[in-house]
Amino acid sequence: MAKRTALYDEHVALGGRIVEFGGWDLPVQYSGLADEHLACRSAIGLFDVSHMGEFHVSGPSSEKFLNYLVSNDISKASNGQAQYTAMCNAQGGIVDDLIIYKYNKDKYLVVVNASNTDKDFAHATKVLASFPEKSGVTLTNESSKYTQIAVQGPKAIDLLRGLSSVNLDSIKTYWFAEGLFDKKIPCIFARTGYTGEDGFELYVEWNQGPAVWRKLVELGKPMGLKPCGLGARDTLRTEVKYPLYGHELSDTTNPLEAGLGWVTKFDKGDFVGKKEILKAKEAGLKKKLVGLKALGKLIPRQGYSVHSSETSDAMGVVTSGTFAPSLQYSIAIAYVDEAFSKIGTQLKVKVRERFLPVEVVSTPFLKK
């Protein structure tokens, strides 16, 4: 039977259409995809993201361990800062993308994708088991302890200001602080998100979820807040070309191909997969992740093949594609042969038996 977050009853009460996702029963939509998507971009979108996984990493060797485990350099993050990174396997493929919230040098909250929680914890545990300074690291899976709610949109901070004991305006993007929600509920206020909008992700104790959610809905509705399901979450992130594991990222794609070179630091010492990633870099990347703009009405979707305009040979595949509600045309993210990855390149996507003309464009698709 699928798992339920603490907010399941809230979703049903709000008219959420429940589907199974990664072993969880969650709403795919409430009022409709376009309606929710546009509400998030113009006012406030409210998301239950409690299905995500959370690990605690602590101890005097935490920083060393995390820097060996992930591709980015966590020693460069300040106390109170969050860092996005990939976590790779020994072949240089991506196990997951994740965010590390650094309290201090010896204490971290690691947040991973829902669909990879068990896999990631097993991987991290295995890496730790053969880590020389493992006695200085405590790694625990705290996923069932947290309700996580994302409040995203230009008015998100207006809604949260009065509900936070911390000065939210002083929290910059990708920073976080601990405080009280609505004067009583201990809460992490993190200025992170997956929509491309300003906003916060709130972490509270699992059972406090309904109280937080209801308060946000009550005070947010008059401001234009709409609860948003998984469907809107996907169109929002696609418009800003945020990768999704299982689409752009998998254990056979390396971070450089996936456009995650910016979170892959070769100058920080060894990390799992570094050797193989460097090898791929030296050999030259064979494929690259690009953004495609549809030049016709057909909609490019995950799995559709990408073809050269001249020869019609297939040389790529769409990893994510959708009609984009904020742009009013369709977009796709795709892996293509490096030779076809320049901006402006005209290509074709096979949609059923037809070809949709597309163009390689700069991303994010939606410019803010």
Binding site: V28, Q29, G32, L33, A34, D35, G231, D234, T235, K297, L298, I299, R301, T322, F323, P325, R352
Partner: protein, 127 residues
């Protein structure tokens, strides 16, 4: 909810039968399940369809769905206005959002269609 003067299929199409002509569209249940419809592909006039053959495609933001002809016959007319404004299907799936009109080749094909009350029961059973 579902108009009494129409007939219905298990694939959530409706058919308005007038003599040897059948006008076809998709039901309210279909448009609700799909969500915001953003694309509609219809056949050319003159195409000859088999019973159950795919005559087009409707796409929402999240989903792709084939459209099936409830009867065999030649396509007499196509609602190309609708193909340019597919979102109308969500607000008004009947009447104005007709998709194709077919010349019915075998009247017996139509006998398998459900009337409104049978279709209402069928939709309830899916919930």
């Amino acid at each position: 909810m579902n108009p009494d003067h129409l007939k219905y299929t298990k694939d959530h199409e409706w058919a308005k039968v007038e003599g040897a002509k059948a006008t076809i569209g998709i039901t309210d249940h279909a448009q609700s399940a799909l969500g915001d419809i953003v694309y509609l592909e219809l056949p050319k006039v003159g195409r000859v369809l088999k019973k159950g053959e795919t005559f087009g495609v409707v796409e929402s933001i999240k989903a792709v769905s084939d459209l099936y002809s409830p009867c065999a016959g030649k396509v007499l007319a196509v609602n190309s206005d609708l193909a340019n404004q597919p979102g109308q299907i969500n607000s008004e799936p009947y009447d104005a959002s007709w998709m194709i009109q077919v010349e019915v080749a075998n009247a017996s094909d139509l006998s398998e269609l459900m009337d409104a009350s049978k279709y209402n029961q069928y939709v309830s059973s899916l919930k």
